[in-house]
Structure formats: C-alpha cells, structure tokens
C-alpha cells in the first residue's frame, strides 16, 4: 500500500509541476516571443514564426524608431511619467500623512471621496476632461497630461500612504515637537524619511501606470511631436503591408523599461498592487 501511495504522490506532484509550468510558459512566452522576434529578419519571421533569430537584426529597432517617431515619443513618455510621479509623490505624501495621523472635521467625507475615485471608470471622463482642457487651450501640453496622471493615481497613492502613516510611532513626532520643530519639520524631517518604503512603492506603481497610459494621451496630445510611446505604436498599423519585425521592435522599445523595472522590483510591485487592489 505504501508503494502505491507514494507512487500516486509522485504522479500528483509531477502533474502539479507540469500544469503550473505550462501556465507560466503561457504567461511568459508571448513576451519572450516578441523580444526575440524583434531581432529577426522579416522574411525569416514569415517563414517560421517560432524559430530563434539566425542573425541579430538590430536594424529593426532603427526602422521602428523612424516609423513611429519613437525617439521623440520615448522622451515624451519619460518627461510625462517622471513629472506625474514627482507631483503625485509630493501631494499624496502630504495628504496621506494627514489622513493617517490627524483628526479633523470632514476627514471621513474627504477620505471617502478620494477612495470613491477608484470606482469612477476613467474612460467616462475622456469627453469632459477633453472639453475642460479645450476651454482653457490646455490640451497639447505635457505638463497638464502629467497632472491628469497624478490625479488618477491619487486614490491608490493616498490609500497606501494613509495606511502607512498611521503606523508611524507617535513618540517620534513628540520628540521633534519638544525639540522645537514645527509641522513642516515634523513632516519633512521625521515622516518623509520614515515613509521611504511606501513612497518607493507608490513611485514604481504610478510610474508603470503613467508609462502605460493610452486613452488620455490619445485624445489630448494631438501634435505629433507630443505623442507618448503607446500612441507611437499605433503608427505601425494602418498601412496595407505591415512589417511585423519592426513592429515587434517598437513594442519592445515600449515594453523593455517596464520589464526592467519589473525584474528589479517585482516583489514590491506585487505587494503594492495587491494592497491597493484589496481596498479598491
């Protein structure tokens, strides 16, 4: 009986490993396929979709940059994402710390308002935000786009910051006040350094969101020289004959920064996203 049982166990364990490995492969493979196909020659790709590149054709990347004006788009994406993250970090740190540590009139109402923001489907804001900016001629403005991304990131960032700030020990704050520090000192010399872990989580998550954002960039950045990477990718279609390998290269250019961030920070990203999602 022992033999049969241990045999069954071995089979079960093998089965579990095979199933999960197959699933992992299913999740990972399209991305890997995109990356190595971006280095194949077009005819080679069309002959055999799966084969690895015989020679590395980096010129696909040059074609991609030219077709999609991806150099400009890359710079735009960096500018918009970095600005959005910087603004969001600063204001969410202030607001979240207040929510997490102090009691004031209307606090619950205000906090609920921010959290309800997670429920608004952002796409239903496309039309009104477009009109709003058109009135003030503020479309075609990278800084304004960054502010919009910061605004959309607020609910999640404030929630994470509030939760974290409420755990900072009160003694630290008291000590600073006794030493004669004012609110400004307490925030920037005590709370800010202690909040580094959660601020870095917010940085990574909001960077990913801003970098990947598509619809608002699509409707607000009409001028070609202002378009961000996700919009630049749409330049590859529309013609009759699509060259797939330069397109794969374009997708890779937009994806590699995100994948690199993921390689370094995947633990933090998972934790932060789960924490933010569970509340939402």
């Amino acid at each position: 009986m022992g033999k049969i049982e241990s045999g069954l166990k071995k089979f079960g364990s093998l089965l579990v490993n095979v199933i999960i490995s197959a699933f992992s492969l299913f999740c990972l493979f399209p991305v890997v396929w995109m990356l190595y196909s971006s280095l194949k020659e077009e005819s080679e790709f069309k002959r055999n979709l799966l084969s690895l590149p015989i020679q590395l054709h980096f010129e696909n990347y040059l074609t991609a940059v030219k077709t999609g004006k991806m150099d400009t788009a890359f710079v735009n994406s960096v500018l918009v994402s970095v600005t959005a993250v910087a603004v969001l970090l600063f204001i969410a740190f202030l607001a979240g710390t207040i929510f997490g540590r102090y009691v004031f009139k209307g606090k619950t109402l205000l906090y609920t308002m921010f959290l309800l923001g997670m429920l608004i489907p952002v796409h239903s804001l496309l039309v009104p935000v477009f009109i709003e900016l058109k009135i003030f001629s503020l479309n075609n403005n990278r800084f304004v786009l960054a502010l919009i991304y910061a605004a959309f990131g607020l609910p999640k960032a404030i929630f994470l910051m509030t939760t974290y700030a409420s755990t900072i020990p009160r003694e630290l704050e008291e000590a600073a006040i006794i030493d004669g520090g004012n609110t400004h000192d307490v925030f920037f010399q005590i709370f800010l350094p202690i909040s580094k872990p959660i601020l870095s989580t917010i940085t990574i998550l909001s960077f990913l969101d801003a970098w990947n954002e598509f619809p608002f960039s699509l409707i607000l950045m009409g001028k070609p020289e202002l378009k961000t990477l996700p919009i630049a990718l749409t330049y590859f279609t529309g013609q009759y004959s699509v060259d797939y390998t330069p397109m794969m290269a374009g997708l890779a250019i937009a994806t590699l920064p995100v994948v690199i961030v993921y390689f370094i920070f995947h633990k933090k990203i998972m934790e932060g996203m789960v924490a933010g999602a569970v509340k939402g």
Binding site: I20, C27, V31, P121, V127, N212, A254, T255, A277, V278
Partner: protein, 298 residues
C-alpha cells in the same frame, strides 16, 4: 485615535498640505463627472451652438441598439472574467500553495508579468497572435494538424468576443493569483495540520478550509474583475476597434467613437454617464450577492 493638543498642526497648515490633492482630484475627477452629466442634456458637436434637449439623449440611449450591444458585451466580458480569471486563478493559486511545487517564486514572477505590460502592447501582441496569415495561433493549429480550425479569428462576428476575452484574462490573471496566494498563505498552519490529522485530502482541504477562508479575497477579486471589465478600452481599440461591424463594441469604445470620431459630444457624454451608472450598479449588485453569500458560509 487619541492625540494631545500640541501635536495637532494648525488648521491653516493642514489646509495648505491637503489643498493640492483636493484641487487636482476636483479638477480631473469630480468636476468632469459633473460636466459629463451636464453635457448629457445637450445636443452639441463641439462648436459654438449648444442646444438643451432635456432627456432626449437618454431616451435615445435606451433605444440605441449599438449601446445595448456594447453594454451587453461588457457584461459578457465581466462574466467570462469572473469565471475564468478568478476561477482559474483560484485553481492556480491552490496549486501554487502546495508543497509539491518547485520554483514557486519563478512561477509567481512569470504569471504576474503580463499585469505590468501596457494594455496597448498586449493588444498588439495578441492581434499578431490572432493574425490569419502570420499569427501564432494558426501556426500552432497547422503544426498539430488541425488545419480545419484555422481561420481569420478577428473577422468572425461569432468568435471575436471570445477571442478578445483571452488576452484580457491573460493580462490580469496574475493579479488575482497573487492576491489569492497571499490570502492562502495567511491561513494558519495549525488549521491545515489538524485537517490532515483528521484525514482530509488535498481536494477536501481546498473545498472545506481554503475556500471559505479566502472567500473575502474572492469577493474582492470578483468586484475588481467586474469593475475592470467595465473599463476596458485599449485592448478593443487596438485588436478590433469594435468590429467587425459592432460585434466587439464595448461601452468605452462607443463613447470614444461617438465623441471623438463623430464629434457628438453631447450624446458622447450621455454614453459616458450610462457607462458610469452601469458600472456602479454592477459593483453594487456583486456586493449585494456576495454579501449574502458570505453569511451562508461564515
């Protein structure tokens, strides 16, 4: 939270610190919601002439077959996302938590990877996978000798919605896997051990211990999946643009097309309000249904 008076900052300082967040949130979230509601009562093409037409847009919305189709597609997607995303994620997470599995960290890394990709990139990637001539899917079917199944996946109105579901499930499933795994890890070892001593096998343990204890997380996952599906836009925009015809139209895509392609901002706003209301209703319904479910189990 109790606090001594000396620690409370002055109201003025609180106000100054809170102001930027509140202002930004008002300008780009709340005011636009109000504006959308306001414009939904007008006939307006973006020019100088704006005509108040009362609830005419809403009457038109209720009779609009394309809007109905779009919302219906959103609901279909939500249903499939709940069943497949959350369902498969539960099975995968249960397996990820067994002692038998090797390289757990790698698997979690791999399964979560699509979550961080741009939806636009995922759209393009799967558009190529579905491509009739140079797509991976037809390539595989040919390789395993199932040539009769080969087709232009995205051109068939009967199949296109099913085809669209797969990239969406593929992209977000890692999110639910990681959420469920972290919930399952919180189940105390003692409970599992005593169940093992009582002779419960793996499947029994999953059904009678893990499932009820992670039910809250499952509920959150379902709310997320439903509200996520109401927000879908990029995948559809890139993969099909809502076509063929309106076969894969969803709410956000229809609002975009009406407003920015046809320049009907008034009616586009009405569609936006319609999406918001549907989305809120769905989330509330899910909450009500699963609130009751929890009592039954708990």
């Amino acid at each position: 939270m109790e606090q001594s008076k000396a620690l409370v900052p002055k109201r003025k300082i609180l106000f100054i610190y809170m102001f930027p967040s509140v202002a930004l949130f008002l300008i780009f979230n709340l005011i636009p919601v109000v504006m959308a509601i306001y414009y939904s009562f007008f006939n307006w093409s973006g020019g100088k002439t704006m005509k108040f037409i009362g609830i005419t847009n809403y009457i038109r919305l209720l009779q609009d077959g394309v809007f109905g189709k779009a919302i219906w597609n959103n609901l279909i997607l939500a249903f499939f996302c709940v069943v497949f995303q959350v369902g498969i994620a539960f099975v995968i997470s249960s397996l990820l938590c067994t002692k038998m599995l090797k390289c757990k960290a790698f698997h979690q890394f791999a399964i979560f990877m699509p979550v961080i990709l741009a939806p636009v990139v995922v759209g393009f990637l799967w558009k190529i996978i579905y491509n009739a001539d140079y797509g991976l899917l037809n390539f595989f079917l040919r390789a395993i000798g199932q040539e009769k199944l080969i087709q232009a996946w995205l051109d068939n109105p009967d199949i296109v919605m099913k085809a669209i579901t797969i990239p969406i499930v593929w992209q977000w499933i890692g999110m639910y896997v990681v959420m469920l795994v972290s919930a399952m890890k919180n189940i105390s070892g003692e409970i599992i051990e005593s169940a093992v001593l009582d002779g419960a096998n793996g499947i029994q343990r999953t059904l009678y211990i893990t499932w009820p204890l992670v039910l809250d997380t499952v509920k959150v996952s379902i709310v997320l999946a439903v509200s996520g599906c109401m927000k879908l836009f990029e995948h559809i925009y890139i993969i099909t643009g809502g076509g063929p015809g309106n076969a894969s139209m969803v709410g956000a895509m229809y609002a975009y097309k009406t407003s920015f392609i046809k320049q009907k901002f008034g009616y586009g706003s009405t569609i936006s309000v319609g999406i918001m209301l549907t989305s809120l209703t769905m989330v509330m319904l899910v909450n009500i249904i699963f609130g009751k479910g929890k009592k039954r189990y708990g």
